[in-house]
């Protein structure tokens, strides 16, 4: 049917056999030393390229945003005015809070023990939401640990750990599932990714009253939770015929622009 010489067919078959052998060796562990050496050598180079890419992207983004600066400036001025009002209100609340604390026994929560890491790459297949970080087993990074940004905002979970390198599945991935809690309504649910475009919280009981703007944190049910912020409710979907409510969560983090992140150690 097709014109193709036997030599070529033989070569194609050899290639496929080589691939099968490599995959088998990978899962048996024979390839581990080679892989670790390659990762060790290439990770710093990747880190450099990632930083260069970030700078070039920032430069283009800056050039692209120049025309919007006037509009942005006006918005910032409006925001600043609002912030001043909010600040005055905040100071008032702070004073009130201090007074209340004096009256209560206040158990301060232990602070998070964090491992600072740098994002050095993203998944090459264009279809998943995974980032690579430059710390691994040698730096006490362990599988399934939460990963946050500096403010304690959850971005993902460690899924794969090598000696000096790890992979983090972002919460925006559809296969990421995090038990979550809505503070104001005391409701629990599961937050998962929505095709890398946003976050959705599901399995919220119908009897819980949730509203737009409610903060969503990790739930105590996860055991390793420290009330890490996930985001705030942006949109609610509570059909009468549904057993559970759904809510679209807006994360304060731009998952496409991650640089330094922290693995929660304790």
């Amino acid at each position: 049917m097709f014109k193709i010489s036997q030599n070529k067919i033989f070569l194609f078959l050899i290639s496929l056999v080589v691939i099968i052998v490599l995959i088998t060796f990978h899962f048996i562990g024979i390839l581990n030393p080679v892989e670790n050496i390659l990762l060790k050598v290439l990770a710093p180079i990747k880190s450099v390229f990632f930083s260069i890419g970030e700078r070039v992207f920032d430069l283009f983004a800056f050039l692209g945003s120049i025309r919007d600066l006037a509009k942005e400036n006006k918005n910032i001025k409006t925001d600043l005015e609002k912030s001043l009002v909010a600040r005055a209100r905040l100071e008032e609340l702070e004073n009130e809070n201090n007074d209340l604390r004096k009256q209560l026994v206040y158990n301060k929560k232990s602070s998070l023990d964090l491992i600072p890491t740098k994002v050095i790459g993203k998944d090459s297949n264009n279809l998943s939401n995974v980032v690579n970080i430059n710390k691994g087993l040698n730096n006490d990074v362990v599988k399934d640990r939460f990963v946050v940004v500096s403010d304690g905002i959850l971005i993902g979970k460690v899924t794969e750990v090598y000696s000096n390198y790890s992979e983090v599945l972002l919460i925006s991935d559809i296969y990421s599932h995090v038990q979550a809690h809505i503070k104001d309504s005391n409701a629990d649910g599961i937050v998962s990714g929505e095709h890398g475009l946003g976050l959705i919280m599901e399995l919220i009981p119908q009897d819980k009253v949730i509203k737009k703007g409610d903060l969503v944190t990790t739930s105590d049910l996860e055991k390793k939770s420290y009330d890490l912020l996930i985001g705030e409710i942006e949109e609610i979907d509570s059909g009468d015929n549904e057993l559970f409510q759904k809510a679209r969560i807006k994360s304060p983090i731009d998952f496409k622009d991650l640089d330094y992140v922290f693995v929660v150690k304790n």
């Binding site: 194609f12 990978h26 990762l39 090459s124 297949n125 998943s128 990714g193």
Partner: protein
């Protein structure tokens, strides 16, 4: 020497693909350098090097990927083989339209084949991460970007061919 340069080139493309390009997401996608490179190499130079590039490039991409190990290797190699069979049986001309057609076909086949593997792995519950994203958008974006990158690679592969011819001539002259 040429083989060494080829390996360095594949390493370089892997690093650019996994660390530099993800910042430049256009049309909801990023170009697949390795795919365009091996297909261009297969068309312009020879299928043997293209095949070697597909296996090596796929291996390196798998190393830096969270996907099931081997997915990139298999997808790249099978795409290369299929494209080679199509070129040698059905394509006589090598003009701009056939190049665009081949790259589009290769990208489409690569994505669909990769998704097929994911489907199989998912069926056996072997998959480690999620992939079923708004696919057509990504595939179409990938095709457009890969066509743009192809022009760059065609120039580069031609340049590399001239370089290797000059290099071999010089080695022969010395001996």
């Amino acid at each position: 020497m040429i083989l060494f340069l080829f390996i360095i080139l594949v390493l370089f493309l892997t690093i650019v693909q996994t660390s530099f390009l993800p910042h430049f997401e256009l049309l909801n996608s990023v170009p697949n350098l390795m795919l365009v490179f091996v297909v261009s190499w297969c068309i312009l130079r020879n299928y043997k090097n293209g095949l070697f590039g597909a296996v090596l490039g796929g291996f390196l991409l798998d190393l830096f990927s969270s996907t099931f190990f081997g997915v990139n290797m298999i997808s790249l190699t099978v795409t290369m083989i299929v494209i080679y069979i199509i070129i040698s049986n059905f394509v006589d001309m090598n003009n701009i339209y056939t190049r665009i057609g081949i790259i589009s076909l290769a990208t489409l086949f690569y994505y669909l084949f990769t998704l097929f593997i994911f489907f199989i792995l998912d069926f056996f519950d072997l998959k480690l991460s999620g992939y079923l994203q708004p696919l057509w958008q990504k595939i179409l974006g990938g095709i457009v970007l890969n066509i743009i990158i192809m022009f760059l690679f065609y120039w580069f592969v031609n340049f590399f061919r001239d370089f290797s011819i000059r290099y071999n001539d010089r080695v022969k002259a010395k001996t």
